[in-house]
C-alpha cells in the first residue's frame, strides 16, 4: 500500500512538473505516455495478466465477456485517475463480494502493471 501511495504521489508530481516545463520537452513526454498506454493495453488484453476481456467489453478486443460493464467513457466516469486505479487495484473496496479479481492485493499483476493498465483504461 505504501508503495501505491508513493507511486500515486510520484505520478501526480511528475504531471505537475510536466505542466510547468517548457514546451520543448513535451513531445518526448507524450511519446512516453503513448508507450505506457500501449503497454497497458497489452497487459490488459493478455490472458495471463489482466485478462480484462474475460469480463469487459473494451476497445477493439475480440469476443469480450459481459460479466462487468463495458469500459467506455472512462474519463467522464472517473475524472480522478487515482479512483480508477483504486478500482482496478482492488474492486472489493467498492463491492466486497465482487467477482472482479483483487489484482493488487493478490499480486495477480505488479504495481507498475496496474499503473500502465490504468493509463490505458483512462484513454477509453
Amino acid at each position: 500500500m505504501r508503495s501505491t501511495a508513493y507511486r500515486l504521489l510520484a505520478a501526480a508530481s511528475i504531471s505537475l512538473l510536466l505542466g510547468a516545463l517548457d514546451i520543448g520537452t513535451a513531445p518526448s513526454a507524450l511519446a512516453q505516455d503513448a508507450a505506457m498506454v500501449a503497454e497497458g493495453k497489452e497487459i490488459a488484453f493478455n490472458r495471463r495478466k489482466g485478462n480484462c476481456l474475460a469480463c469487459h467489453l473494451m476497445d477493439d478486443g475480440t469476443l469480450p465477456g459481459n460479466i462487468g460493464p463495458p469500459l467506455i467513457a472512462m474519463q467522464a466516469r472517473y475524472p480522478d485517475k487515482a479512483a480508477l486505479r483504486a478500482q482496478i487495484y482492488d474492486a472489493r473496496v467498492k463491492n466486497p463480494s465482487t467477482i472482479m479479481p483483487p489484482f493488487g492485493p493478490h499480486a495477480i499483476i505488479s504495481e507498475s502493471e496496474i499503473d500502465k493498465i490504468t493509463e490505458y483504461v483512462w484513454t477509453l
Partner: protein, 286 residues
Amino acid sequence: MKRTAFLIAAAVVALEAPVATAASPEQDLQVFRQYFLDRYPNTPFDDFQNGVYAIDANRRAEWAAMEEFPPYEIGLEIGQAEFEKPFANGRTYASCFKNGGINIRQHYPYFDTLAGDIKTLEGEINECRVKNGEQALKFGSGTLAAISAYMASTSNGSRINIIVPNDPRALEWYNRGKKHYYAKRGQLNMSCADCHYHYAGRNVRADLLHPALGDLSHFPVYRKKWEARGSGPLAGFGTSHRRFNGCNKQVRAKGYGPQSDEYKALEYFLTYMSNGVPINAPGVRQ
C-alpha cells in the same frame, strides 16, 4: 512469482452473505431452484439437465448437430462391455449394486450411515473391484469414467433423488460442500457460485456460463476438449470431480483431486441442489 506460497496461504477467503449455514438443506434447495426458474422462465424445469444448452438457442443447435452422431457412442459401448465383463473370480459389477447396477445413478452420491461417509458411484465401482480381487482403476477419467457413464446412462429419464438424512454427520458433509461452493478461492478469488449462480448466463470471454440447477445430471460427460487432448475412444470421458478440479485450477486455486473428501462433499451438495432433474448422461460438452 511466489504463486505456490500464495495458493497455500489464500485457500478459502470468505463466505458469501446469503449462505450463512443456518438454513436447512430443504430451504436451500427451494431458494436455489426458484432462483433459476425465475431467471429462465422459458426453460422448463426438466431442461436444466442440459447445462448451457438449456439457455442458449445457438449453442443448442450446435449440440443437436453433435448428438446426431454422438461422439461418445463407441466409448459408451466399451463402458458397457467393461461393466458386463466378469472379474477373474467370475462375479460381475452387478453383484455389488442394488438392481444389478442398472438405473441407480439418481441415488448417488449418498450418505452411508454405517461408515459416516459419502459414497459416490465411482467410489463404489472401485470398491467393487477391490472386493473382487481386482485392481482399483484410476479415478476421474478413462475406463472408470466410461463404466460410470454407461451406468449413468441406464438412469436416463430418472429424476435425481439425493437424501440428506437428519444426521449431524450427513449435515456436516452437506455444509462442507455448500461452503466450498460459495467460498471465494484462488488467486483470482472467485467462487463456484460467482460463475454458475450469480453470473450464470453471462459470458466469460467466449464461454457461456451454465446455470447450476441440473448440475451433475449429465455426468460423467464426454468433453471434446478432453477428447482432443488424449487418444482413443475413452479420452473424452470425465467425472464431475475432474471438472471440479479444472474449475478450481481456472481461478488458480489448488485442485483437490478426484474422490477427495472435499469433492465428495461438493458433489453431495450440488447433486442435492438438482433434486428432481432427470438424468441425461453422458452429456456432450465442448
